[in-house]
């Protein structure tokens, strides 16, 4: 066990993966000498060489498309997309190739590609540097999508993602890169399922589902709520596709109330799927309609406005009040 930042924990996970399997190669823009703009790959090119930690030309379709070819040849490419908003030039290769090749070939060709994406807002950045595009990928059959919220998970999950024979979108909560925590690097990739959610705070009144950067906020909200006498159970999804519905279902059967939070836009976001699925599975247990606390249905705004756009503790508490039937911001709302 040692204490390290979340970004360091991923770095160490990548290092282990490179050590354990000669077929693992890292690809991306500026991941070599620079070590990535967030330094997540710091030192890896120096130690493993430029053929295993490859700086690529500036083209995301090129990165993903060549990774597909490497996978055909038996490699396990780990691609870094520099920021969330730059994944779209690679979208076609991800959706039409990475996601579909195993299905297309009746299982003959495996696509063990990991696509690392630093995502989310809260760092005061310019346009396209703060987005949460996970729902585009969770809606794409053939992909696995995960997101980590703490250093231990970051370390373990990146190794699991690389070890998985399926393609995995790995969303890294960039504003938590500097969060520190204990990490046991001895946990091997096969110890845990890549599909399991974690109950990170137990509670009886409301289930609050979160992932990635908002897990910390959700835990703070649970503490604040308990001060007001409301007991909130916080779930860290970890796997966004598939979702560990059994864990959420068990929680909601107990609490009868569900709040989901994510930074992505609300309309058609992951929260919709969770609300819809849990309503179906727990219809007779629900005391109130599930509530969503999310980014607004606008493009990600300029930095000076991001504190409004991003879900925060107060907005989570307000939603908790809504499902609890307590006084809340919409109590007197007359809108449509």
């Amino acid at each position: 066990m040692s204490t390290m930042t979340l970004s360091r924990a991923i770095n160490s996970g990548l290092r282990k993966a490179l050590e354990d399997d000669p077929k693992v190669v890292l690809m991306g823009e500026d991941i070599g000498k620079l070590g990535g703009v967030f330094r997540v790959t710091d030192g890896l090119q120096k130690d493993f060489g430029a053929h295993r930690v490859m700086d690529t030309p500036l083209a995301e379709a090129g990165i993903i498309g060549t990774a597909v070819g490497l996978a055909y040849r038996g490699y396990r490419p780990v691609c870094e997309i520099q920021f969330d908003g730059f994944i779209y030039p690679g979208f076609d290769q991800i959706v039409t190739q990475v996601a579909k090749l195993h299905y297309r070939t009746g299982g003959a060709v495996k696509m063990p590609i990991t696509i690392r994406v630093p995502f989310g807002g809260g760092i005061g950045a310019v346009e396209h540097h703060s987005e949460s595009p996970e729902a585009y990928f969770t809606h794409t059959s053939g992909l696995r999508v995960v997101s980590c919220s703490n250093p231990q998970d970051a370390h373990t999950m990146v190794r699991q993602a690389i070890a998985s024979d399926d393609p995995v979108l790995f969303f890294e909560p960039k504003r938590r890169y500097w969060t520190k925590g204990e990490v046991n690097e001895e946990i091997t990739a096969d110890t845990l399922s890549l599909e399991s959610a974690a109950v990170v705070n137990s509670g009886n009144d409301v289930t609050l589902v979160s992932f990635g950067p908002l897990v910390a906020t959700a835990r703070d909200a649970a503490i604040a709520a308990s001060d007001e006498g409301v007991s909130v159970e916080v779930i860290d999804l970890r796997s966004l596709s598939p979702i560990d519905f059994a864990t959420i279902e068990a929680s909601v059967r107990k609490t009868g109330r569900l709040v989901i939070t994510h930074e992505a836009q609300q309309f058609g976001g992951l929260g919709a799927e969770i609300a819809a699925s849990i309503t179906q599975r727990c219809f007779y247990y629900l005391e109130a309609a599930p509530e969503r606390v999310t980014g607004f249905d606008t493009p990600y705004p300029a930095a000076k406005l991001e504190d409004h756009f991003l879900p925060n503790l107060d907005r989570m508490l307000d939603a908790v009040d809504r499902v609890m039937g307590k006084d809340n911001s919409l109590s007197n709302w007359k809108g449509q």
């Binding site: 190669v25 030309p57 195993h102 070939t105 009746g106 053939g142 979702i243």
Partner: protein, 362 residues
């Protein structure tokens, strides 16, 4: 020889079947003896016959669609035959002639077009990726595969086939950039058949397509794509360059799509019949026939043998198509993932229940 952008076209066999001398290219086909020549001829005749049979099968409602390769036999056989078994092919949807060279099971060629599967064959069985519908996407895959070969320290080469239209896609350009940057052992084989569905090549490129690659630092060749020997020579040059660590090569095989884009297409809306007639005289098979004749190799016996082979293949394809097993209903859920997915398992389970509810009389 290696960097062509003047529009010049390499030709070793003229449309009338004369052997044209070319100091740079001749040595690359000097091993092509009479027997090889006859077998190249046979292959071209057979794949044309496959094409005819498939078109007929489509007209009879046994295939949903077929993309003919009529007119492109020399481009596909000439290149396909030069490949080594361990080389890996990433083609589009039209490379059924190349698949034939790779030794594909005949019936497998038809699976996709009958609608039974997305891939006709197991790529690793014949070292050829299944047909790729997304225009140009496969060029990046070939480049990545080639990078893998390079890292493995083997002299295996990846080759990617694509059309003239495909050269407009970002992917194809990025593939050249990546290939040049890493000096990947990959061959870019462009069959310029003059058309992208209804769009003439002039809309994609105002200057010869082969002229693009040098700008990326990739040597290129522009060859008569209806000349099986020229195509062979060029492909061998490219393969040799890749095997010996000298990086990628771009080949433009100038040919012509003599048929429709696919069986769904109606070229009468856009193709000038005169243009088609001009190309008719450049037929890739006719010229080899003339050449064989000039060498007294076109015996009746030989021709009968070729015909028998073609008929046999056609028969097998027909039988294979008609007897193809229908996919099982629940197989729709198979192979989405290589491991199980809780969500999908549930969905499959529910659908299986749904299907049973009919059997049970719901």
């Amino acid at each position: 020889m290696s960097s062509v952008d003047d529009g010049g076209l390499v030709q070793l066999l003229s449309p009338t079947g004369e052997r044209v001398k070319n100091a740079d290219y001749d040595s690359w086909v000097e091993d092509v003896d009479d027997a090889q020549l006859k077998s190249l001829y046979e292959d071209m005749v057979v794949v044309r016959r496959i094409d005819t049979e498939a078109t007929a099968l489509q007209r009879q409602g046994e295939l949903g669609l077929w993309p003919p390769l009529l007119g492109q036999e020399a481009a596909q056989i000439g290149s396909g035959r030069t490949l080594r078994e361990d080389d890996f092919v990433f083609g589009s949807y039209r490379e059924n002639g190349v698949a034939y060279c790779r030794g594909v099971d005949y019936t497998d060629i038809m699976r996709v077009w009958r609608g039974n599967a997305h891939a006709g064959w197991n790529p690793y069985d014949i070292n050829m990726a299944p047909s790729q519908v997304i225009i140009g996407a496969q060029t990046l895959h070939a480049t990545g595969y080639a990078l893998g070969c390079q890292q493995d320290g083997v002299d295996t080469v990846a080759i990617s086939y694509f059309g003239d239209g495909a050269t407009s896609q970002g992917d194809v350009n990025e593939a050249m950039i990546f290939a040049a940057s890493y000096q990947a052992p990959v061959v870019f084989f462009c069959q310029n058949n003059q058309w992208a569905i209804s769009e003439p090549v002039g809309l994609q490129a105002r200057t010869p397509i082969a002229g693009r690659a040098p700008g990326f630092g990739i040597p290129s060749m522009r060859v008569d794509g209806n000349d099986v020997l020229a195509v062979m020579a060029a492909t061998r040059i490219a393969l040799d360059r890749a095997r010996s660590g000298n990086g990628p090569t771009f080949i433009e095989a100038v040919t012509y799509r003599m048929g429709p884009h696919t069986t769904s297409d109606d070229p009468s809306r856009y193709v000038d019949v005169l243009e088609r007639e001009d190309w008719q005289v450049k037929d890739p098979i006719v010229r080899v026939e003339a050449y064989l004749k000039s060498k007294d190799l076109l015996t009746e016996e030989f021709q009968a043998g070729v015909k028998a082979k073609a008929d046999d293949v056609a028969k097998k394809i027909r039988a294979g198509t008609l007897n193809m097993e229908e996919p099982d209903a629940l197989s729709v859920f198979d192979n989405v993932y290589s491991t199980s997915s809780s969500w999908l398992d549930r969905q499959k389970n529910q659908y299986s229940h749904y299907l049973q509810s009919f059997e049970g009389g719901h």
